[in-house]
């Protein structure tokens, strides 16, 4: 089964086509929409599973829509980094399931909007899947737009005016960054005459003048850094992620931000292979920005009382880890950074889904108001505690090994300062998570009625608990994804000469 060639276009088109059919199936009743989305995501997950199995057994492979050989046609390329679609499918599936009750509960939202919510969610997931599997620069841009547009709209979905403001801010920043990407795609086409990534890489290597290539590199890097919310271009993130409906926050923080990272990895793949430019400067910039992101994200998070705002800031910190790992560009750090893309997705989704369940049941969203909730919603709070421990990187949870690898990379690259920044920055992060755990379990409730609240409904609890247990399992079996990414990282860094 895994060898059937058409899984690759299928995995991209299934969610997109599913989105097109969502309004159709909801003609009779809008309650069909979530089940339809769930079915579509299940099918996509099956395809994704086969693809991941195939890449694990035989390495990267391509699919040529229309049968045109690259660089004349578009190439879909599935490598180990593309395996992130497994997380996209998993979290997407769980987010749909979670939304079942959550969207109905949003009082501000007119009920007719809800089918469009599922359509947008499917489009967003499909866009992300397309983005990570494409091997063509312009195609990358097209999928980037699909996922960005749907993300802007999903942020605004809850219907409060702050949400629309946040969405507009996100849209403005996001559109500029997309334009930067498009501009540099244009420049790259101008100097190479090609759009296929692999072909571009070889042709850039044969150029006389490096200036346009450097310009394109800079713009691509900035564009994807905006998407990934690296300091100082993170300013759109906190509002957007905090105000979006919780399942969307999980998707945005866990996945959409990671798309920027995958974009950066693609850029590295091109430019390392091209070899015309010394990427040392870019690497240093990334490492520094990563370190600053870690500290600043943690610093701002400490002062937040709103639980979702706090989680949003912690995303900035964690993106800082990943970016630092990429920038250090040693074998260990790149492996650690890219696996943190997977792990952070799981962890942050756990946290946002659990936080959403708390808000759903109590209506409160600040830590002060939520005091004592650990007694009435024990399972949700256990999930959120596991997430908190994971994100700080305390063994044996999912966050630890990535941190270990990135720190190892810092010492390997002979930049021990960043190793320290990483390890002690994590402690900084812990300060605010311990506040959260204290509030849930060990402080007297401000609102006595909070002790009477029921545990989250099953459709919300099950995804949360599943993700939380994955945080633990990925911590203990953490070597498996690390070993899986290893060949890809080695291939990425091979042009550097080992």
């Amino acid at each position: 089964m895994a060898a059937w060639p058409h899984w690759l276009p299928l995995v991209v088109l299934a969610p997109l086509l599913g989105a097109v059919f969502t309004p159709v199936v909801s003609l009779r009743s809008r309650h069909v929409a979530p089940w339809w989305a769930l079915a579509v995501m299940s099918a996509t997950s099956v395809a994704a599973l086969f693809l991941v199995l195939r890449v694990a057994s035989e390495g990267p492979f391509s699919y040529l829509p229309g049968g045109w050989q690259p660089p004349y046609g578009i190439e879909l390329r599935f490598d180990e980094f593309s395996a992130v679609i497994s997380v996209i499918c998993l979290i997407g599936w769980l987010a749909v399931l979670y939304s079942l009750r959550y969207t109905e509960w949003l009082r501000e939202v007119p009920k007719q909007r809800i089918p469009y919510y599922y359509a947008l969610l499917l489009l967003n997931l499909g866009g992300m899947i397309g983005f990570v599997v494409t091997g063509d620069l312009f195609n990358l841009f097209v999928f980037l737009e699909i996922l960005s547009l749907s993300a802007y709209a999903l942020v605004a979905f809850s219907g409060e005016h702050i949400a629309e403001m946040a969405a507009f801010k996100y849209l403005l920043m996001g559109a500029i960054s997309s334009l930067l990407v498009l501009f540099s795609v244009g420049i790259i086409f101008g100097i190479t005459g090609s759009l296929n990534m692999a072909d571009v890489a070889t042709r850039i290597g044969q150029l006389d003048s490096a200036a346009p290539a450097a310009l394109a590199l800079a713009m691509l890097a900035i564009g994807f850094m905006v998407k990934a919310a690296v300091f100082p271009v993170h300013i759109w993130l906190p509002d957007a992620h905090a105000i979006a409906p919780s399942p969307i926050s999980a998707v945005l923080s866990g996945l959409v931000v990671k798309v920027g990272i995958i974009g950066l990895i693609r850029v590295y793949q091109i430019y390392y292979a091209a070899g015309v430019l010394d990427l040392h400067t870019l690497n240093q910039v990334l490492v520094w920005l990563g370190a600053i992101s870690i500290v600043m994200g943690a610093f701002f998070a400490i002062f937040q009382d709103d639980i979702k705002l706090m989680l949003a800031y912690s995303t900035i910190s964690n993106v800082g880890y990943i970016v630092m790992g990429l920038g250090l560009s040693t074998n260990f750090s790149v492996i650690g950074g890219s696996v943190h893309v997977f792990n952070h997705a799981l962890i942050k989704a756990t946290l946002f889904l659990a936080a959403g369940a708390l808000i759903y049941r109590t209506g409160y969203r600040t830590l002060t108001d939520l005091r004592g909730i650990g007694r009435s919603m024990p399972l949700t709070c256990i999930a959120i505690s596991i997430g908190a421990i994971s994100i700080v990187g305390i063994p044996p949870t999912a966050g630890f090994l990535c941190k270990w690898y990135i720190a190892l990379g810092a010492f390997e690259a002979d930049q021990p300062f960043f190793g320290f920044a990483l390890i002690f920055g994590a402690l900084f992060i812990f300060i605010y998570y311990i506040r959260m755990v204290n509030a849930f379990y060990f402080q007297a409730p401000v609102h006595p009625e909070i002790l009477e609240v029921a545990e989250a409904p099953l459709s919300m609890l099950a995804p949360t608990l599943l993700l939380a247990s994955l945080c633990l399992i990925m911590g203990i079996l953490g070597r498996i994804p690390l070993a899986f990414i290893e060949p890809a990282a080695a291939r990425l860094l091979a042009p550097l000469g080992g």
């Binding site: 421990i389 305390i394 063994p395 044996p396 630890f400 090994l401 270990w404 690898y405 720190a407 190892l408 010492f411 390997e412 021990p416 190793g419 320290f420 390890i423 002690f424 994590a426 402690l427 812990f430 311990i434 204290n438 379990y441 060990f442 402080q443 007297a444 203990i476 079996l477 953490g478 070597r479 690390l482």
Partner: protein
């Protein structure tokens, strides 16, 4: 001889399972007690069943999944680890009995016992850790698992103490991680199964960085001054927790980490060459004296015990830093000696508090007339700390002094003597108050603590005497310590 044996992993797994069962049992106290007691006994049995083999030099190992190339979740019960495991699992049984009595009627018992079992699980995991990464893993888990125990009462004081505890220990943990990363980067291994994995070729700068990170990190939990600040504040915890923290799990994890660093990461020879141990020796000696001095002026019993603990732990550090076989023996056996004596004292303090409500030293006048057995146990522990022959503490002091002579650091003897005097100065007044300073008219009216509290206290006290009298009897923990020393010094 190395043998792959599932018992190595079974021991921590039993406690882990027990924690799960306790949480599942919920508020059903009979099941909870049943699980706690049977798991504690079962684990003691498992650990003890490895003892004979271990004494003959068998090393039990069990490897699991790999984390990073060459380093995985792996367990290895060598003599040093076995020693620590035997001590902690013996104490688990005793403390469990005590805790069941002590916590009766408390609000959050499920949480308490669940995390209690988790702590013990991680402690044994720590003892059997094959490499620094596994060690670190359990070390951090221990930090997290003890947090709910420290802030058990949920008062603002407790929360503050908990925050302080976490701040200290997590920063320490970060240093350990830094150290481990550098070690791995420099050598490509993190194994704790050799007498030293580093070599002088790495250069003094790297070695110093590793030494400071690892020893500094472990010293936080071992409460070496000036990193001891968390320990007296953590006294707000319930007494069985204090007993566990100060006698078994947390502080000993730190001390054990220092032993591992000195003996298995650096190795005695390398440390002797580069001379990093000398400042450590001074710091330890300073801690022994300064903490004793502070303890004299504490009126709260538990605070006085806390400072005594700080002082006592530095015996272990000092023993390790002296780098001679005798001193090493002292350091290792002191893990057990201090554990049993200090746990006795905490049990006594807790029993007095639960029975009479008294928490300060000056209120203890005449308590010996009311609780003679309890105070008798206290006296045994006090004598042990002072270093009377026949009691456990004597063995430590004896071997430590021998070690000092062996290495030519004669000033250590003076520290020993001064420390004994200080110990006498802060423990004997309590004994004196209890038995000889009764307010006029006090009569011998025995109203002892609950049997669960009393029995466990007496058992712990009995152990103090047993450890003190059977040092040369083969098959006792002491011979394990000697086996460990033989391995470390290549004898």
């Amino acid at each position: 001889m190395e043998v792959t044996d599932i018992r190595v992993i079974l021991a921590p797994a039993i406690s882990l399972l027990c924690a799960a069962l306790v949480f599942l049992a919920g508020s059903n106290k009979h099941w909870r007690r049943f699980w706690m007691l049977s798991a504690a006994t079962l684990k003691l049995g498992v650990v003890m069943s490895m003892l004979p083999g271990s004494l003959q030099g068998t090393v039990y190992t069990w490897g699991m999944i790999e984390f990073t190339p060459g380093i995985g979740l792996a367990f290895r019960a060598d003599a040093l680890g076995m020693f620590f495991a035997v001590v902690s699992s013996t104490l688990w049984v005793i403390t469990t009995i005590y805790a069941i009595g002590y916590m009766t009627g408390d609000e959050h018992r499920v949480r308490f016992f669940g995390f209690f079992a988790l702590c013990v699980s991680t402690t044994v995991g720590l003892a059997f850790a094959e490499n620094l990464l596994t060690f670190f893993l359990f070390y951090e888990m221990l930090t997290i698992c003890t947090y709910p125990l420290v802030i058990h009462d949920e008062t603002p004081d407790a929360l503050k103490a908990g925050r302080k505890y976490l701040t200290y220990t997590l920063i320490g943990g970060a240093f350990i991680m830094v150290g481990s990363v550098i070690v791995y980067d420099a050598t490509g291994t993190l194994s704790l199964g050799h007498p030293g994995i580093l070599s002088a070729e790495l250069g003094t700068r790297t070695l110093l960085l590793i030494f400071v990170s690892l020893v500094g990190g472990f010293a936080v939990k071992a409460a070496v001054m000036p990193l001891h600040g968390w320990l007296p504040s953590a006294m707000v915890a319930p007494t069985p927790v204090s007993a566990l923290l100060h006698a078994v799990a947390v502080v000993k994890a730190g001390a054990f980490g220092i032993l591992r660093t000195v003996y298995n990461v650096f190795g005695v020879d390398l440390l002797e060459d580069i001379g990093f141990a000398v400042p450590l020796m001074w710091i330890a000696a300073f801690t022994i004296l300064a903490a004793s001095l502070v303890a004299i002026f504490q009126d709260n019993i538990k605070r006085r015990l806390a400072f005594s603990t700080i002082s006592q732990l530095s015996y272990i550090v000092l023993g390790a830093a002296l780098l001679t076989p005798f001193a090493a023996t002292a350091a290792i056996v002191h893990i057990a000696n201090q554990a049993f004596a200090k746990i006795t004292m905490f049990f006594v303090a807790g029993a007095i508090q639960r029975t009479t409500g008294k928490t300060n030293v000056h209120e203890l006048a005449g308590i010996g007339y009311r609780m003679p057995w309890t105070m008798g146990a206290f006296t045994v522990a006090a004598l042990s700390f002072i270093g009377m022959p026949l009691f456990a503490g004597f063995i430590t002091k004896w071997y430590l002094s021998l070690g000092a002579l062996e290495s030519g650091e004669y000033w250590v003897l003076a520290v020993m003597i001064a420390s004994s005097l200080f110990n006498a100065a802060y423990f004997l007044p309590i004994v004196y108050l209890a038995f000889f300073k009764a307010p006029p008219g006090t009569q011998l009216r025995v109203a002892e603590a609950r049997p669960t509290l009393l029995i466990s206290t007496l058992v712990a006290a009995a152990y103090v005497i047993v450890l003190g009298t059977t040092a040369e009897v083969p098959g006792m923990p002491f011979s394990l310590a000697q086996a460990a020393v033989h391995f470390v010094f290549g004898m």
